[in-house]
Structure formats: structure tokens, C-alpha cells
């Protein structure tokens, strides 16, 4: 036991460091962390004992399903309860949280050689596009552990049988034509997320590809909603049509897990879904389609290609009672070695470190079997093409997102025309943006 501890200690302490971090400094203390049940956090749970051996710090990790975790994080941060030292932050929320002063700026900790082992942290190795998602007014508020984007997964065998060239899926027009052609004989043409909380994650690909947008100008902080533009209406109507008429039963309430199951079961021809879910979609035990899938980037439209993009990170709560031990834990948890270990041992592929993406053992494990396209290439190309402002990253987005999703759903249900539904969503978005002070 003592030997393993010593070996672990040595592997984490480069001899060259002028200041060595004293890993035993906070022995006996506890750190509380909250996260959603996302691959990395779930896998992290099994590694906590090693950290305790190394430092004597106990880490209590609470895992909740996404929306429950989201609510708990917000209420705990807002009330300043100090219940959690480390909180999971989805990139869309890093700015609103930081703006409220709920998160601790990390740079002072990074600059403190007594608390930070620069080699272990390897900050420059973290993908800059992801770390930038965790910044507000230049200051860093979180460390990313997860890179999220979506790709197209298609059944190469079904496409071939129908005489459809996979290259056709590269444009929005070709994609929707293929969906319609493949929807026959008990096979659904496509599965995507229809649930109002999640549909915009997919729908934005079409909306931006066709030239629409949620607001006037995100980059220049002009948040005047633009949901009634002809492009936005066309995209909404296209998306609703695909979900309502060419998708499996119940698709209007599909969340990501339902889309994964739809593909696993073998009666869906094309899905657009998170690249990080590639492992689950190809699960050797649960999937009937392993080896039959092709992988491609999401389709492009007249206005270019817009793969979804967000990151998940971990941050320190501003009122955290055990900030310093928590910071030690974050460095260790995000270190290159542990990231690679987790990626190799678990279902976590969406790693946030460039060096791991290039690691041969990583590539060997994650080069998923396929019948067209290259999974890792589609994943990486999408991340490289992604825009941090895929959707507005502002505090009112949750409410706008939901009413937008509900408007899409009412088109799918046939309750409203796309024009009416988008007019409603626009009115709600204007109300929210005005109330929260984003527009006059």
C-alpha cells in the first residue's frame, strides 16, 4: 500500500519543479462535487480512491441526471449555500454564472506554485476552443473535460440498398431527400431530438445552415430575436416535418437517449446525434448495428456548415469552503494521464486534451468500426469547424430555448403553422430578452 502511494506521489511530482506542491497538505479534508451523469464524471467516480490515497482528501461526488443536476447547481450557487466546492458547468452557463459572481476565477490559483503543478495541469494541452468557452471578460472560470458536437450516423447498408450515395448527406437538401426516401418498410428515415428542451441542439444545424439565426448578431451582443426571418421559418418547418413524418413513433418527445436507442435497435436509417455517444451507439452488447454505420459531419446549407458545439467543464464555487483541496483535485482529475486512463477504460471519448486525441492507444480504442467515413475524423473535423456561439450563451437562453422547442413541437403536432409558431416563439423571446435587460 505504502509503495503504491509513494509511486503515485512520485509520478505526479516532477523532480525539476522549483516549488513542489505538497499533496498531503490538506490531508483529512473533504471536497464536495456535483456533476451530471456524463461519461467522464461517471468514470471519475471509480478513480476517487486513488486521489484519496495520494492526498488524504476525501472527494464526495454527487451525480444527477442532467436537468436535475442543472437545477441543483443553480439553486446551490444562487443561494450561496457552500454545499459544493466543485460544480459541473455546461459551457452555455459559464458566462451567466460568472457574471453573477458565483464562480471563482482560476488564474490566481494557476499562478500559485504552491498549489499548482504546471506540468500536471498542462493547461496549454487543453483544447483552446474549449477553455475559451469557460472564460468571461477574459478571466478563466472553469476547466473543460468534455468536448461536445454532433455528427451524422447512417446505415451504410440501407443507403446502398436504396441506391443513395452517402455523399448526398453532405447537404441539407440531400439529407432531407435521403430521409424521405429511406422512410419505408418499417424503417424510420431519421431520428433526432424532438423534446422541447433539446431540439434546438440539432435544429440549429438547419437554421444556421439555411441562413437563419436566433438573434440579430451574437458576436456584437445584439440580442434582438430573429425567429420570424424567412430562413428561420423554413428551417423550423423542415425540421418539424422530418420529426413528424419520417421519424419513429414518439419522436416529438425524443431526448438523446431515445435517439441512441432508435439507432441501436436497427430500425432507423439515419440519426444526427452527439459524437460523444458513438461508443454507446456501437455498444457491442446493446447495438444491433455495430459495423454497419457510416459517419459524416452534419450537412451544410447555403450558409455553410454549423456543427453543434459546447463543452462541459468543472468550476470552483465562489463560496466554496474547501477551495484549495478542491483545486488540487481538479488538477489531478483533468491531468493527461487520468484523462487517457478514463478514455481507455470507459465510454468517455469526448476528451478535452489535444495530446490524448493524438495518442495511439486512444485512436486504437476509439476508431469505431464502420462501413463508411471515419468516426474520429468526423468528430475532430466537427470540433474544428464548431462555433462557440452555436447558440446564445446568455442567462435568458433556458427560457427562450424551451419556448422555441415548444413552438417546434406545436408544428410537429400540426397545431400551428410554422409562421404562427415562430411568431409565438419570437414574442416570447422578445419578452424574455427585454425582461432580462438584453434588449431595450
Amino acid at each position: 500500500m505504502r509503495k503504491t502511494v509513494l509511486a503515485a506521489l512520485m509520478s505526479f511530482m516532477p523532480f525539476t519543479a522549483a516549488h513542489a506542491v505538497d499533496w498531503k497538505r490538506y490531508e483529512g479534508q473533504e471536497v464536495n462535487m456535483i456533476c451530471m451523469t456524463i461519461t467522464w464524471c461517471v468514470a471519475l467516480e471509480d478513480q476517487l480512491a486513488d486521489f484519496e490515497d495520494l492526498t488524504g482528501i476525501t472527494v464526495n461526488l454527487d451525480l444527477f441526471e442532467e436537468s436535475a443536476a442543472h437545477q441543483k447547481v443553480r439553486t446551490e450557487l444562487a443561494s450561496g449555500s457552500g454545499a459544493y466546492d466543485i460544480v459541473w458547468v455546461q459551457a452555455n452557463w459559464s458566462i451567466p454564472y460568472a457574471k453573477q459572481g458565483w464562480l471563482e476565477p482560476l488564474q490566481p490559483l494557476i499562478d500559485n506554485p504552491d498549489l499548482t503543478d504546471a506540468d500536471l495541469l498542462g493547461f496549454d494541452d487543453l483544447m483552446p476552443s474549449l477553455t475559451n468557452l469557460m472564460r468571461f471578460e477574459g478571466a478563466l472560470y472553469g476547466l473543460p473535460f468534455f468536448a461536445a458536437t454532433i455528427i451524422t450516423y447512417y446505415r451504410a447498408d440501407l443507403l446502398e440498398a436504396a441506391g443513395i450515395d452517402p455523399a448526398q448527406l453532405d447537404t441539407i437538401e440531400g439529407f432531407s431527400a435521403a430521409v424521405k426516401a429511406l422512410n419505408k418498410d418499417g424503417v424510420a428515415g431519421v431520428a433526432m431530438r424532438g423534446h422541447p428542451d433539446e431540439s434546438s441542439w440539432h435544429q440549429t444545424v438547419f437554421m444556421k445552415g439555411l441562413g437563419g439565426g436566433y438573434v440579430e448578431d451574437i458576436k456584437n451582443e445584439n440580442y434582438q430575436p430573429t425567429l420570424t426571418s424567412p430562413e428561420a421559418i423554413e428551417a423550423a418547418s423542415l425540421y418539424a416535418d422530418m420529426i413528424a413524418n419520417y421519424s419513429p413513433d414518439g419522436a416529438i418527445n425524443f431526448k438523446f437517449s431515445d435517439v441512441v436507442v432508435a439507432m441501436q435497435q436497427g430500425n432507423t436509417a439515419i440519426i444526427m446525434e452527439g459524437a460523444p455517444l458513438g461508443g454507446r451507439i456501437n455498444d457491442p452488447e446493446k447495438s444491433t448495428v455495430r459495423g454497419k454505420l457510416g459517419y459524416a459531419m452534419v450537412p451544410q446549407g447555403p450558409n455553410g456548415r454549423h456543427p453543434a458545439f459546447t463543452g462541459h467543464g468543472v468550476a470552483l464555487a465562489a463560496d466554496a469552503p474547501n477551495q484549495e483541496p478542491a483545486w488540487l483535485f481538479l488538477q489531478w482529475a483533468l491531468s493527461r494521464d487520468l484523462t487517457l486512463k478514463i478514455a481507455l477504460e470507459s465510454n468517455h471519448v469526448a476528451v478535452s486534451r489535444n495530446s490524448v486525441w493524438q495518442d495511439p492507444t486512444f485512436i486504437e480504442k476509439w476508431n469505431l468500426p464502420g462501413a463508411g467515413g471515419d468516426f474520429l475524423k468526423a468528430f475532430q473535423d466537427s470540433l474544428n469547424a464548431a462555433d462557440p456561439d452555436y447558440r446564445p450563451r446568455i442567462s435568458g437562453w433556458g427560457e427562450v430555448n424551451r419556448s422555441y422547442g415548444e413552438a417546434l413541437q406545436s408544428i410537429m403536432l400540426g397545431d400551428k403553422s410554422a409562421e404562427e409558431a415562430m411568431a409565438d416563439a419570437q414574442a416570447k423571446a422578445v419578452e424574455v430578452m427585454t425582461r432580462l435587460g438584453y434588449i431595450e
Partner: protein, 288 residues
């Protein structure tokens, strides 16, 4: 030596204080919050404002819609539970051999509401859930129960009727058993039909019990939140979102605390509208 009146006051004071601390004060605080525009997302918004009541509530389509759903739950769910519960209780009262069923019927009540919601959700999944299989045996095609506003509302009603009708049965049956036998025998002697006996003898005698059950069911019909939460989360297209679930979304998801408080004040107000006449009528019958 204290007078009787002072003794009464002194002895009841602790109970009253406790009651105030647990109910009156939180409600007053809630009302206070509802008069602010406090949003956790807008710094400095903790200010007195009448805007929630004056403007937001009535221009908010979602609020108005959730009011409708609330009335639906109160009226439809309660009526079905009461009618069905009374009918089954009456059958068990008449045919005592069926009494063993009573023990089985209590089971749904013992299942935690969140589990009830999850269970029904799983049974109603199109193609995979159990219900579609049995409907399929009769040639009825798979229905996406929770995917359409109309069927989703019906599904929630079915789950709530399944869970709470047994409660009505148990209470009603106990009431029926405690009725004096002589009026019933007299009715039979006078040649009254079963229907007439029920309407003119049994129901009037059961009135206090019916009123209490009705009151409990109305209050509880809004405590359906966990079932709805698990089954539909309020969707699709808000079809099953009652006012309390709406307040939850506004308060805990959008962190719009002031507005959520005003929605809950409206919620309490609606409960009072429904319950006050019933309480008054029960007081009246007590004083007779």
C-alpha cells in the same frame, strides 16, 4: 387563579404559535416575494413591484393555459375518482364475498407517486410498453400516449385514477359499514329500488364522509405533480402542466423567484375557491 377563558388562551397559545410558524408565516413570506420582480439572473432585481399581478400573469399564455389544466385536474380527476370509488365501495358493501378484493385494491395507494409515474410511463411507451401489446391483441394499433396532448392528459388522468380511487373506496366503505341499519331496512320494507335507496337514503346519510373525501381529493388532485413530472414533465406542448408545475419551472429553472411566488399565490387562491364552499357546507351540516 386564571379564569377559564385565560386558561384556554394560555394552553392553546403554543399550538397556535406553532401553526403560525409553520403555515401563516411562510404564506405571508410567499406573498411578500410575489410583490417583487426578483430574478436570480438579474442582479439588483429584488425590488417592490406590482408587475407580476398587474401585467405578467394575465399576458402570460403559459400561465393561463396552466390554469386550464389545473381546473381539468381538479374537476375531471376528482369526479372520476369519487364516482368510481363510490360505485366500487357500494358493490363491496352489497356483496360481502368480494371483500377480499379490498386488500388488493389498496396496493396502488401504497406505491410512491414518483414510482407510479415511472411505471405508467414505461407501460405507455409506444410498441415497447405493455399496454400497446394488449391493445394490439384486439387489433388496436400502437398509440403514442405521451406524445399527443390529448392522450397525454388522458394518460395522466388514468394514472391518477388508478392510484387514488382505492382511497375513496376505503373511506366510503368504512362509511357505509358504519351506517345505521334500520333506515336501510325500512327502505327495503317500503319497496324502494336500489337506485332510490342509494340516492335518497345512503348518499344523504353519507354526506359528511363524502364531503371530507371530496375535500381531500380536491386538495390532493393538485398534488399530482410527481406523477406528471415523471410521465411527461408537463408536456407535450405543456398539455399536462398544471399551475404548480409551471411555478416550479419558472422558479427553479428560470430562477424567476418573484413571478414564481405570484403564481403560487394564485394557486393557493384557486384551492381556496374550490374548498371554501365545501368546508362551509360541512360546517353547516355539523351545526344542524
Amino acid at each position: 387563579m386564571l379564569s377559564d377563558k385565560s386558561t384556554f388562551r394560555l394552553l392553546s397559545a403554543p399550538a397556535l404559535l406553532l401553526l403560525a410558524a409553520l403555515t401563516v408565516i411562510p404564506i405571508l413570506l410567499l406573498f411578500g416575494l410575489s410583490l417583487t420582480s426578483w430574478s436570480l439572473l438579474v442582479p439588483g432585481s429584488f425590488k417592490f413591484s406590482f408587475v407580476n399581478y398587474a401585467e405578467r400573469m394575465f399576458s402570460d399564455e403559459n400561465f393561463v393555459h396552466s390554469l386550464g389544466v389545473t381546473f381539468y385536474y381538479i374537476i375531471v380527476n376528482t369526479l372520476i375518482q369519487m364516482t368510481l370509488g363510490f360505485l366500487i365501495a357500494f358493490l363491496l358493501f352489497r356483496y360481502t364475498k368480494l371483500r377480499f378484493l379490498r386488500a388488493i385494491m389498496i396496493i396502488p395507494m401504497l406505491v410512491p407517486p414518483a414510482v407510479v409515474g415511472l411505471m405508467w410511463k414505461m407501460m405507455l411507451i409506444p410498441n415497447l410498453g405493455g399496454l400497446d401489446y394488449y391493445l394490439g391483441l384486439f387489433g388496436i394499433p400502437a398509440i403514442d400516449w405521451l406524445g399527443n396532448p390529448g392522450t397525454a392528459l388522458a394518460a395522466v388522468t388514468i394514472a391518477s385514477v388508478w392510484e387514488w380511487t382505492p382511497f375513496v373506496i376505503v373511506v366510503m366503505l368504512a362509511g357505509l359499514d358504519s351506517l345505521p341499519r334500520s333506515p336501510l331496512e325500512a327502505a327495503v320494507m317500503d319497496g324502494a329500488s336500489t337506485l332510490k335507496t342509494v340516492f335518497y337514503v345512503i348518499i344523504p346519510m353519507l354526506r359528511p364522509i363524502i364531503i371530507v373525501t371530496l375535500l381531500l381529493r380536491i386538495i390532493e388532485s393538485l398534488a399530482i405533480l410527481p406523477v406528471v413530472f415523471m410521465m411527461t414533465g408537463g408536456g407535450p406542448a405543456r398539455a399536462t402542466e398544471a399551475i404548480n408545475l409551471y411555478a416550479y419551472h419558472v422558479g427553479l429553472e428560470y430562477l424567476d423567484i418573484g413571478y414564481a411566488a405570484s403564481i403560487l399565490v394564485a394557486f393557493i387562491f384557486i384551492l381556496l375557491i374550490f374548498c371554501t364552499p365545501i368546508i362551509l357546507s360541512s360546517l353547516k351540516s355539523d351545526s344542524k
